[in-house]
Symmetry: C2
DNA sequence: GAAGGTTGCGTGCACACGCACACAAAGCTA
DNA sequence: TAGCTTTGTGTGCGTGTGCACGCAACCTTC
């Protein structure tokens, strides 16, 4: 088994920030994903789509989901397929653009999301409680706001 | 195109911290991965293995790479295959345990890593410069250290 | 209205990943 | 030694993802 130190010794503070961000994000999402899959048979990618749909009063265009989530456009298309098969979302043709498809949660989708979201909060509590204080959480929120504001950090290739 | 606000309105600070970590980690790794792939034809997973190998003076057991990186054991096996095919690493049988395989960078591997690492630092500079200050970076390093310290946050399923 | 370019959505293909399993070698017990 | 368990490593298989492409609808210009 390895040494205690998880990082090479010649890391700069910026290197630590980068690797810590990637490592923490990956580990957290893996934990939530596994809990959602085990308890609700619901991948995190599905959950993320439902999260955005829930926050919107109006049906959301598929292109908007691709722009606003971590998912690529093709992945949005497939995730919506799966959610629709389970009756959790519905596709609504746009009244003004015959190409555009708007997506909305069904009643069953709202219920499934609430159950899954409780699991997500539970997992987060396990990891965060007694570990990160309010100052840490505030710092993370501030850093995220800064990164979001820079287009170079937001643009990703979508397919 | 979406609204300015990238998050639902009913997010708690903890939700922001979680989503920000996942989002920032995913976006950062995607940017670095794309730059490495485009300029050096080197996936980020390969780079991560080389990063750990470079920091060690002695050859590293494959199991240690699986424990210390974000990669699963099976993925380590395959990545080492690929790196070996390109002559960037070599497998060295352990003198004390005939099951164990120790892995080390070749001379070409050291050179390839240095070139790729320059690209990584360059991408990081694009994203971080004039955006995150020293306090932010220090905060991230501290938060990462806390998360690492908790086994529940570290354990991942490996295959 | 016709032609050319753009946008929105979906899909075939290749690839990477995790899981379960197989196998060999080591350790442990009698 | 024999037999069982544990550990280190590698691989077949199924699944999910991104990329490149296709198609249809929209928009602009003439």
């Amino acid at each position: 088994m390895a040494q205690n130190n998880l990082t090479p010794g010649d890391f700069t503070p910026r290197d630590h920030a980068f690797y810590g961000l990637v490592w923490a994000g990956s580990t957290l999402s893996a934990r939530v994903d596994q809990a959602l899959a085990r308890r609700h048979d619901l991948p995190l990618s599905w959950f993320e789509v439902m999260l955005w749909l829930r926050a919107q009063k109006e049906p959301v265009a598929a292109s908007e989901l691709g722009a606003v989530t971590l998912l690529s456009r093709s992945q949005v298309s497939r995730v919506v397929d799966s959610l629709q098969t389970r009756g959790l979302v519905e596709r609504i043709p746009s009244p003004t653009d015959a190409r555009s498809v708007r997506i909305a949660l069904t009643e069953a989708g709202h219920r499934a999301f609430e159950e899954a979201d409780a699991t997500r909060r539970e997992v987060l509590a396990e990891v965060f409680d007694d570990l990160l204080d309010d100052a840490d959480i505030a710092a993370l929120a501030g850093i995220w706001a800064k990164l979001k504001s820079r287009p170079a950090a937001r643009d990703r290739l979508k397919g």
